[in-house]
């Protein structure tokens, strides 16, 4: 036997330093496994498609910042690529482990379940936000000078939007067996359809609040929904309200996810 302490000789619960070390290792493991995954390939393929469309668009149009944002970045990036990255990494952070049944190895470690969930959230948020900001930068760079202004307008809404989406899709992945499919369905029906409906029903969507943030941070460019009718029916909230809603709802979703993950019995693991 080794001279190291046996489990019975070690303290009954992990010391804070050991717990921190275990969580950091789990973070690295999750980042590594998620980065080298199908999700990354899907996200990159869709990003490449959007970059090509943006490039083609800049060749044929007068690429002002306002037009770039309204015609390309809001529909292609804010409403499409950003949620896709969040679904790719958020829903699969716990859901992917569950589907390939490796989640059992995390559940038998000494890391408390809420911390496993929190660590998964951090990893998924880093990846989704990192890729989103990176792709945003590429899109803006491809667009040339107007893209520089657009990048500043979108940076903060992107970070906030990713936070809300990841906390939501991570929860879905942890709570339901086919989290990715449910997340995609949610995104299409709630975010795409409801998010563009007239009236205040759209306020339940993350997309609405991120758009409000974009419109406020791009107020110098006179940003807003395209068309008079759309402008009249959009009924925006202030940027501060949107930020507050996103932060509070993200915190609630994260806390709910930690609670659900802590109590849930994953009977399908074996």
């Amino acid at each position: 036997m080794s001279s190291e302490k046996t489990a019975s000789e070690r303290p009954s619960a992990l010391q804070p330093s050991a717990l921190f070390s275990a969580c950091v290792h789990l973070l690295r493991l999750t980042l590594s496994r998620q980065f080298w995954s199908r999700q990354t390939v899907v996200g990159l393929a869709l990003s490449l498609l959007c970059v090509m469309i943006t490039f083609a668009w800049t060749l044929h149009r007068d690429p002002s910042s306002k037009r770039l944002i309204e015609m390309m970045l809001v529909p292609a990036f804010l409403a499409f690529l950003m949620p896709v990255f969040a679904i790719c990494y958020g829903a699969s952070a716990v859901g992917g482990d569950r589907e390939d049944r490796t989640l059992i190895y995390l559940l038998i470690t000494s890391i408390p379940r809420p911390l496993i969930y929190l660590t998964k959230f951090i990893a998924a948020w880093l990846l989704a936000t990192g890729w989103s900001v990176g792709v945003l930068w590429v899109l803006c760079t491809v667009a040339g000078q107007p893209g520089n202004e657009a990048f500043d307008v979108f940076l903060l809404p992107t970070v906030f939007g990713c936070t809300a989406y990841v906390s939501l899709f991570l929860l879905v992945g942890a709570a339901f067996r086919h989290g990715t499919i449910i997340s995609l369905a949610y995104w299409f029906f709630l975010e795409v359809l409801f998010g563009n409906m007239p009236g205040i029903v759209k306020r339940i969507s993350v997309a609405f609040h991120t758009r409000c943030m974009v419109y406020e941070s791009g107020s110098a460019l006179e940003l807003g929904p395209a068309g008079r009718v759309a402008r009249e029916m959009f009924l925006p909230v202030s940027g501060e309200t949107a930020r507050t809603v996103i932060l509070i709802s993200s915190a609630i979703l994260l806390a709910a996810g930690m609670l659900i993950f802590s109590r849930r019995e994953y009977r399908d693991l074996s």
Partner: protein, 324 residues
């Protein structure tokens, strides 16, 4: 026999208990997984036997903290089994054949060590010890997806051993392992036991439990039907006398004597030199037989029990449970 109503606990080990279940019931909606279990698991090798749906996996998952009891309490080393403190003391080898397939066996075991809070150097050292224990040291650098089932089973065991737990819970560990590997794994369990640890082994391979487990738990319909050593349980099965085959050059004379004994329920002569007996209270019978054979200088060339194996005991218990 009233086994299903009142579980037979031949040797309740309360001292030095590693894990305890107290009045534990687990429901899955309207279906009952385990029903009012009271069980203490102490150091040594305990075999968990029962047909599909008996509640073995539910019991194991309750002990591993993967399920919460609907009623009652499950503790490991005095702490709730679902707590992270208890998991320090449990090494769980699941029956699921899933891994981080992109990793090598060595990296997987080290990863599990790191997830148990060990430093890099400690994880490396402990992983090597665990890999050596399961005989995978020189094969651990290959990718997991290229492993045979037996090798994957060993790596699963290594990850369960890597933090040197007080209790090892293994679900069907001998599945897919070749005979040599089985012997090695059984030696591994015995080595673990010799260090004062507890091992709970679930298996369908009953005859291997004969050789491996010091204590067995028979489960059926979510209940513990019997627990104790095989000999103890066998002795309690009054309505199923032990069958013994005996060969002797004086078979007729010996049979004539033995039929008078109160522990001998019946005798059947097979040929001039061989007969079989049905025996109650085997321990007392064998003691008396030994004394008698020596005292009377009777030549006995063969003596064997034909239904004292785990399989026979299991069949008896299950048939009794079915009648109840």
């Amino acid at each position: 026999m009233s086994a299903p109503e009142s579980p037979r606990t031949a040797s309740p080990a309360t001292a030095g208990a590693v894990a305890e279940l107290r009045s534990v019931t687990k429901w899955y909606g309207p279906v009952i997984g385990v029903n009012d279990l009271d069980l203490t698991i102490g150091p040594g090798i305990t075999g968990l036997l029962g047909p599909n749906g008996a509640g073995k996996t539910t019991l194991i998952k309750l002990l591993a903290g993967l399920l919460h009891p609907s009623l009652g309490k499950v503790t490991v080393s005095g702490r709730s089994a679902a707590s992270s403190a208890a998991k320090e003391h449990i090494g769980y080898c699941p029956d699921v054949d899933a891994f981080y397939e992109e990793m090598s066996g060595r990296r997987f075991v080290r990863t599990m060590a790191r997830l148990h809070g060990m430093s890099k150097s400690e994880a490396k050292e402990r992983a090597e010890i665990a890999l050596a224990e399961v005989g995978m040291t020189d094969r651990a650098d290959r990718r997991l997806r290229g492993y045979s089932k037996g090798m994957r089973q060993r790596i699963k065991l290594a990850q369960a051993l890597v933090h040197d737990p007080a209790m090892l819970i293994v679900d069907e560990p001998l599945n897919g392992v070749d005979p040599v590997g089985r012997r090695e794994l059984m030696e591994l369990f015995r080595g673990f036991r010799d260090r004062g640890k507890a091992v709970l082994v679930s298996s369908h391979i009953l005859h291997e439990m004969d050789a491996l487990a010091e204590r067995v738990i028979f489960m059926g319909r979510g209940r513990i039907l019997a627990s104790g050593t095989l000999a103890e349980i066998r002795e309690m099965l009054d309505e199923h006398p032990l069958h013994v085959r005996l060969r002797s050059s004086q078979a007729r004379e010996l049979a004539a004597q033995l039929i008078r004994w109160e522990d001998v329920k019946g005798i059947e002569l097979r040929d001039e030199e061989e007969f079989s007996l049905e025996v109650r209270r085997p321990d007392a019978f064998f003691q008396r037989l030994g004394d008698f054979v020596v005292a009377e200088s009777i030549d006995v060339s063969a003596l064997e029990t034909t239904d004292a194996s785990a399989e026979a005991v299991f069949d008896y218990i299950m048939s009794s449970a079915a009648r109840a």
